[in-house]
């Protein structure tokens, strides 16, 4: 077995180990109409184009950050496209007629979603989240606070509407 085969095997084993966490993270940071595995796939390509996963010190964090950046890029691209071709987004043909609560999270930007997820679901501290996402502790705390607040407001909104009715 050659060195490259061995390295690729190591890379795959590493990826296989961290895949479940990556997918969970992707499911949160990607918009609801984006398949989480697609995001993981794209991030994986981005990384493998440059480096072997086995060479990364913290592949989990690295891939997470790549996924987050891809989500941000994707969101911007879609916003631009929406501006350029508004008709494609105003026909209503693509709209989900039975929206689930999952889409509520799309009201938050991907970074805030990632922060809230890592803090409230994965249970990471602000310091660790900051290191993982390349942000200052203060920024993480601020985003977390605002994200929770916004999320609470979004979750409570349907209740308020039904009460008013």
């Amino acid at each position: 077995m050659t060195d490259s085969d061995s390295r690729e095997r190591q890379s795959y084993q590493t990826f296989d180990r961290i895949y479940p966490d990556l997918r969970r993270f992707a499911a949160v940071v990607a918009d609801v109409d984006v398949d989480p595995d697609d995001l993981v796939h794209d991030a994986l390509i981005q990384v493998l184009e440059r480096v072997s996963i086995a060479e990364l010190r913290d592949p989990d964090a690295y891939l997470r950050r790549v996924m987050l950046n891809l989500s941000i890029d994707n969101r911007r691209r879609r916003a631009v496209f929406r501006r350029i071709r508004p008709k494609l987004f105003s026909s209503g043909a693509h709209l989900d007629h039975y929206p689930s609560d999952l889409a509520l999270l799309d009201n938050l930007d991907p970074t805030t979603r990632a922060v809230v997820f890592l803090a409230d679901v994965s249970g990471l501290s602000a310091v660790v989240i900051g290191e993982q996402l390349g942000m200052a502790d203060g920024t993480v705390r601020k985003r977390l606070s605002r994200g929770r607040q916004e999320l609470r407001r979004l979750v409570d909104l349907p209740l308020q509407i039904s009460k008013e009715k």
Binding site: Y62, R65, N69, L102, D120
Partner: protein, 395 residues
């Protein structure tokens, strides 16, 4: 709230790590067009900006202090310290004979020998780099005499200039140039254009004729200013003609009141006196105009109007605008590269707008300042979208 997050986490069908890995490997195996990395893009832009900056600084090296300084303001000690070499560094020009065979990049500033020599008398034609425009150094000088012309002075050493000018004699006695004095004039001329672009200095014994030229970059109008005390200069009434950018600059010696004059004329054989300047032997006096052979003082406005009327030649104007449009095109290219990232769009718009505005309205000098500023901003700016982060940033 956490339930919502948990539900979100478990959405979709899980393909599994092996499927995702295999798909990624397949995609990687396919040939792909890759976008240039952000760093390379920045380096390209920074390199372009640096080159543009240097070019603009070189072209705009004519400072206001040089324009207004006269030879009489200079300290003789400082004068003697001027460097002697005549070669213009960085310019790889060759000697030429007829003006029609010019080195690449060197263009005749005038309309040619005809324009420079309307009377068939001896005249000078100045050459420069068209790309650098009027603020660049004069690279060559050519002497036309009745019956033919002699060319010399293009990027030559002192010895070469002296050797080539030694044949000049008082063939037509229009201007008493002895071989020695002619050589001295030319040597000084080249020397001064080398050391102080935009400023020409003729020395004749104790008398000095300094011809400075400057340009209103925005309007592209050449302006010749002469400071002279030629009271003892052996000029005849016909004078010696200097080929200006827009016309023939005739240096006439004596007016009715015995004073020397600098005269603007329009180019061509049917030149006419457009304006001239009275020189009192010590310093330049107020602009004057000549009407029916009489000297008459005119206001600065009238003088400026006379100069403006002459304007740049068609070629000069076309070359300037071609260069400007070229730079605008390059700015548009930078713009096109930058707008690919949304985060840089405002910066790209700013660069494009300022580059175009600076070139169109104010010329090269402002452009050089602008490029310096934009380069700094560009290098310090951080695009919001990072793509794949550098590995070093990951713990």
């Amino acid at each position: 709230m956490n339930d919502l997050l948990e539900a979100r986490v478990n959405r979709g069908t899980v393909r599994g790590s092996s499927a995702v890995w295999a798909s990624a490997q397949t995609t990687l195996a396919e040939p792909r067009v890759q976008r240039p990395p952000a760093l390379a893009l920045r380096l390209v832009i920074a390199g372009f900006a640096a080159v543009a900056f240097l070019a603009a600084v070189t072209m705009g090296s004519l400072s206001p202090s040089l324009i207004t300084e006269s030879s009489q303001d200079r300290d003789p000690a400082e004068e003697s310290q001027l460097p002697a070499p005549l070669l213009i560094e960085g310019m790889d020009l060759v000697r030429y004979t007829p003006p029609s065979i010019l080195p690449d990049g060197v263009r005749i500033f005038t309309g040619g020998p005809e324009a420079a020599n309307p009377d068939g008398e001896r005249s000078f034609v100045f050459f420069g780099d068209a790309a650098k425009g009027p603020t660049g150094p004069v690279l060559g000088i050519e002497v036309f005499e009745s019956g033919g012309f002699h060319s010399f002075g293009v990027n030559m050493s002192t010895d070469e200039v002296l050797a080539m000018t030694s044949h000049l004699s008082n063939t037509n006695q229009r201007w008493s140039i002895s071989p020695e004095s002619g050589a001295e004039e030319i040597a000084n001329f080249v020397l001064r254009t080398d050391t102080a672009p935009g400023q020409l200095d003729f020395t004749q014994g104790t008398d000095t004729a300094v011809i400075q030229y400057d340009v209103d970059n925005g309007a592209g109008v050449w302006e010749w200013v002469a400071r002279s005390h030629l009271a003892n200069a052996p000029f005849t009434s016909e004078g010696v003609e200097f080929a200006g950018i827009a016309g023939v600059l005739r240096l006439a010696p004596a007016s009715d009141d015995g004073q020397d004059m600098l005269v603007w004329t329009e180019g061509g054989e049917n030149y006419r006196l457009a304006a001239f300047e009275l020189i009192d032997g010590v310093s330049m006096s107020a602009p004057v105009s000549r009407v029916s052979g009489r000297v008459q003082r005119v206001s600065q406005t009238e003088w400026d109007a006379a100069v403006d009327d002459i304007g740049p030649t068609g070629f000069q104007s076309a070359a300037t605008w071609t260069a400007r449009l070229l730079v605008i095109g390059l700015a548009a290219l930078v713009f096109a590269l930058l707008v690919r990232e949304k985060a840089w769009k405002p910066l790209a718009l700013l660069i494009f707008a300022f580059a175009s505005g600076a070139i169109l309205l104010h010329g090269w000098i402002l452009l050089s300042y602008f490029w310096a500023l934009s380069t700094i901003v560009l290098l310090l700016s951080k695009p919001r979208s990072q793509g794949t982060p550098p590995r070093e940033t990951i713990p």
